[in-house]
């Protein structure tokens, strides 16, 4: 094989911290060839983004970078001057960050942003700059490029923004494209389009370094996969091999955590999410296979089959399947419905609700259009759709945050949406919300004790309240040691657990979960989903579960309702809808979901209509 485009060996990056140093990247090595895609996968904090930025010389002013080999196109990157770095960035290496809303300068026109690499590197004359930029916008599939050229990032939809960001990264025809979580926060259909775009670049010979926490996304694009944990590459190999027969227990756990659309619903065991061990194998603290040797010494990178390496003393062994966690013993005050969960009693009835909002231009937009469904006692109903489909607005009306313009919502068969807030308040405890971003729904100065204690019903004061809070924390799998912590001191998963505990505190019958896991790593996500499933089985809670991710909904829900442009297009049993979707939109949505089966090479054209392309304005 020809000489690789990128060669990295023995790379370590350290950041000085208040106490000692943070070793963000340790002894990492990899290679990327022209026309090849290497995916670096790991959860947040695993060092994958730092590794990518090191290739651009942008690891940060405080970063201490050391490497045995760090070369690009045969040049030693370790010896570059700041000026030489600048000539490389954007010219030979393109960089796509996640979330184009903040990665494109919101105060500059899209065209100016895309033009920047051309200007900086003197690749266009003033006369043909605009033409080049428009050609680039067209190349990445942006319709009506002359209009978009003059617009600002906030005027474009998420998918178009991400395309524009990619256009600017490939403007100077770099030989390497680094994409750091390029599809996170995008709807699945848009995600599929963006991945296709990256794939097209790769087929044209661009080397691609894809950073992601999502193995399903990676499976579509990657030739090789490198799994990082706590700054170490724990496993590396060809994508197909690695994803079908993981050698490292962490890879296996990551794969198990991906919600799938086919096969039996996996009830993920509640793997421990202990922090990385300081000595020995970093994964030992979470690993089901770990023994004393793992805790004592760090396993070296060893070959495992053709083209694969793994850092594990017991590669390829199946972890002992933990017995399925038993249903939680019902906490004392959670109401147990008298009926069996299968009873057809509707706890929430949504009857023809419609909501219109006035948009910026003064025109009215129908966010929710005559939506009707019932949430039955003890069931979990999923509400899926893309952003802007009206699913959150529907949820807010179920919570009676605002009243529908038409139709009504009943709670327990009694009037709910039509009441005055004063009359609603006594029954508010029955329906509670778990939000996407608990950090913003917690008072940053409240301790966990106070956050949950505040939500307890009257009568839980003093010791009784404290015991109850500790009990609720136990229900969501947290220990009492976090009672005195502040929200900022909690990990993402802990925060979402605290949010669930708080929602449970008033003793509700219905939990409305609005994208409760979309901001979490897959492993943490699996944890929260397992927790919700367990709580439901144990206590007879009804869940209204809103998500853009059909796979996630399948993990938790019995029935699913699909929304598009404010209307309900399909509702039915999850398995029925997934196996035999009736609405064309549901079919498009399902076909866009990335799957772990490594089937990229067959290049099935995804029958996704240009749903995103309409864009606002």
């Amino acid at each position: 094989m020809s000489r690789p485009l990128v060669e990295v060996a023995g790379l370590s990056v350290e950041f000085p911290a208040r106490r000692g140093v943070v070793r963000a990247v340790r002894d990492v090595g990899f290679a990327v060839h022209a026309g090849e895609c290497l995916a670096v996968v790991g959860e947040s904090g695993s060092g994958k983004s730092v590794t990518a930025r090191t290739l651009l010389g942008l690891a940060g002013p405080a970063a201490r970078v050391r490497a045995a080999t760090l070369s690009f196109e045969g040049r030693d990157l370790r010896a570059l001057t700041p000026r030489e770095w600048r000539l490389l960035r954007g010219r030979r290496i393109g960089y796509v960050l996640q979330d184009a809303l903040t990665s494109l300068d919101p105060l500059r026109r899209v065209g100016d942003e895309v033009a920047e690499p051309l200007e900086v590197h003197g690749l266009a004359t003033a006369a043909d700059l605009d033409d080049q930029v428009v050609a680039l916008l067209a190349e990445v599939g942006i319709p009506d490029p002359w209009t978009r050229f003059l617009q600002y990032p906030h005027e474009l939809s998420g998918g178009l923004r991400q395309r524009a960001l990619i256009a600017s990264a490939i403007a100077a025809r770099p030989s390497l494209l680094i994409a750091d979580e390029p599809t996170t926060a995008l709807d699945v259909t848009v995600q599929a389009q963006v991945l296709d775009l990256l794939d097209a670049r790769r087929r044209d010979g661009t080397g691609t370094l894809l950073i992601s926490h999502d193995l399903a996304v990676v499976a579509r694009l990657a030739d090789r996969v490198s799994i990082m944990y706590a700054g170490l590459v724990v496993e590396e190999g060809p994508a197909a091999d690695l994803l079908s027969s993981p050698a490292h227990p962490y890879t296996a756990d990551l794969l198990a955590a991906v919600p799938s659309l086919d096969g039996p619903v996996r009830r993920p065991r509640e793997i421990s999410l202990a922090p990385a061990a300081r000595s020995g194998c970093p994964y030992a603290s979470r690993c089901a296979l770990a023994d004393d040797r793992c805790r004592a010494e760090s396993p070296p990178a060893a070959p495992y089959g053709p083209g694969r390496t793994v850092r594990c003393f017991r590669p390829g062994q199946d972890p002992p399947r933990a017995p399925e966690t038993p249903p939680v013993t019902v906490p004392v005050t959670l109401p147990v419905p008298a009926e069996s969960p299968a009873a057809e009693r509707a706890v929430v009835s949504v009857r023809g609700v419609t909501k219109r909002f006035r948009s910026a231009g003064g025109s009215r937009r129908t966010a929710v259009d005559e939506v009707s469904f019932e949430l039955r006692a003890g069931e979990a109903l999923g509400l899926v759709g893309e952003s802007g489909s009206g699913k959150s607005t529907t949820a807010r009306m179920v919570l009676a945050e605002f009243a529908p313009d038409a139709g009504d919502v009943l709670l327990d068969g009694e009037a709910w949406s039509g009441l005055r807030e004063r009359d609603r308040r006594p029954r508010r405890a029955r329906i509670q919300l778990v939000d996407q971003d608990p950090l913003s729904s917690f008072d940053p100065r409240f301790t966990v004790q106070r956050i949950i204690g505040e939500a307890l019903p009257r009568g839980f004061t003093g010791d009784r309240g404290r015991r109850r809070v500790a009990g609720l924390l136990g229900d969501v799998g947290l220990g009492p040691e976090i009672l005195d912590r502040l929200p900022a001191q909690l990990s993402g998963g802990q925060r979402q657990r605290v949010a669930i505990a708080r929602a449970l505190a008033p003793g509700p019958e219905v939990l409305v979960c609005d994208e409760p896991v979309s901001a979490l790593d897959v492993t943490v996500q699996a944890q929260i989903l397992a927790l919700l499933a367990r709580l439901r089985r144990g206590s007879g809670l009804s869940l209204l579960f809103i998500s853009h991710d059909v796979g996630v909904v399948r993990q938790v829900c019995d029935r699913v309702a699909v929304m598009k442009d404010g209307a309900l297009v399909e509702i039915g049993d999850v398995e029925t809808v997934l196996r035999a979707p009736r609405a064309p939109y549901t079919r498009a949505l399902l076909s866009a979901v990335p799957r772990l089966a490594v089937g990229r090479r067959t290049a099935v054209p995804i029958p996704v209509p240009d749903m995103d392309l309409k864009g606002p304005t």
């Binding site: 990665s103 500059r108 900086v120």
Partner: protein, 312 residues
């Protein structure tokens, strides 16, 4: 753009209300102060005007009418742009203001240009650079916490009396303006520099700054083409405040440097209870404030495209 037109007409209406409010407050304020306006007009208590003279004055100025009628007459004149006659200067108020406006505008305009340049320059050079940042912050705190008059006196002592670089007194051209500019600009520059730097640092920490660097942009380019615009938003918000500081500071600085100007006129008018002059200056200030804020509002929308869509 109909929304913009609507917005502007709203601002205009608000401007008129603000001017009416300011004029009314000035009118009420001057009536509430004890003492007989007729005596003021006659040259003060010391002037020992005869009752006949005072009566004549009362007739001439309409001081016998009920307060409400006087207020009506006052507003009516104001609507026609007639600010009245100064009680003490034997000159129309508009004439007094026009005579003195030039020096004050020269002082304020120069000082704000200097203040903004100092602030933006210091912020651009020191944002995100720990060493220079500390030095700059110390200087900013110094300039914020030192009153104008003290800065003026120190500047005079150092550059005029000792070094003889600039004249002590006088309106003789630019060289006499340099020290007043500096004295007026420094406290404003201190605050603006801090706000600008904070805005720059926040912008430089955003993903778009990283993206710009990853395109090969130089540090200059990232700061000037990307971050500076973001930093301009809070600075614009503070500009209204800076204008107030400039007007208040002008009064002090004109006194310290014994300069002609509106500040000087206001001090004399308040002391002598020259009601029409005080009212005239107050109304003019209200107008300036409203116009500057309308301009800032438009600038805001120019700098931040996201504001252009925002509903009213």
């Amino acid at each position: 753009m109909p929304t913009l037109a609507r917005r502007l007409s709203r601002r205009l209406a608000l401007t008129l209300i603000a001017m009416w409010g300011a004029a009314t407050l000035a009118f009420a304020g001057m009536r509430l102060v004890p003492g007989d306006p007729a005596r003021v007009i006659a040259g003060g208590v010391q002037a020992n005007a005869t009752p006949q003279v005072l009566d004549a004055i009362r007739d001439q100025y309409g001081l016998r009418e009920p307060v409400l009628v006087q207020y009506g007459v006052f507003l009516g004149r104001l609507l026609r742009g007639d600010l009245g006659e100064s009680y003490q200067l034997n000159q129309s108020v508009s004439g007094v203001i026009l005579d003195q406006l030039g020096p004050t505008v020269a002082l304020a305009a120069g000082a704000s240009a200097l203040g903004f340049s100092l602030a933006v320059g210091a912020a651009l050079l020191t944002a995100g650079r720990p060493g220079p940042r500390v030095v700059s912050r110390a200087l900013e705190f110094g300039s914020i916490s030192t009153p104008n008059f003290w800065i003026g006196i120190l500047l005079l002592a150092a550059f005029s009396f000792r070094l003889h670089w600039f004249p002590v007194i006088g309106d003789g051209g630019l060289s006499a303006l340099v020290l007043p500019w500096v004295a007026l600009a420094l406290p404003i520059a201190g605050v603006l520099a801090q706000v600008t730097r904070e805005g720059l640092e926040r912008a430089l920490g955003q993903p778009f700054a990283l993206t710009a660097r990853a395109r090969g942009a130089t540090e200059h380019r990232v700061r000037l083409r990307h971050a500076l615009r973001h930093a301009a938003l809070p600075v614009l918000t503070l500009s209204g405040w800076a204008l107030g500081e400039l007007l208040a500071g002008a009064v002090v600085v004109e006194t310290v440097f014994a300069r002609q100007g509106l500040g000087h006129v206001v001090v004399a008018a308040v002391r002598g209870r020259d009601f029409p002059v005080v009212t005239g200056v107050v109304v003019l200030s209200a107008l300036t404030f409203s116009l500057v804020n309308t301009a800032l509002d438009l600038l805001y929308r120019l700098v931040d495209p996201r504001m252009r869509q925002a509903a009213l």
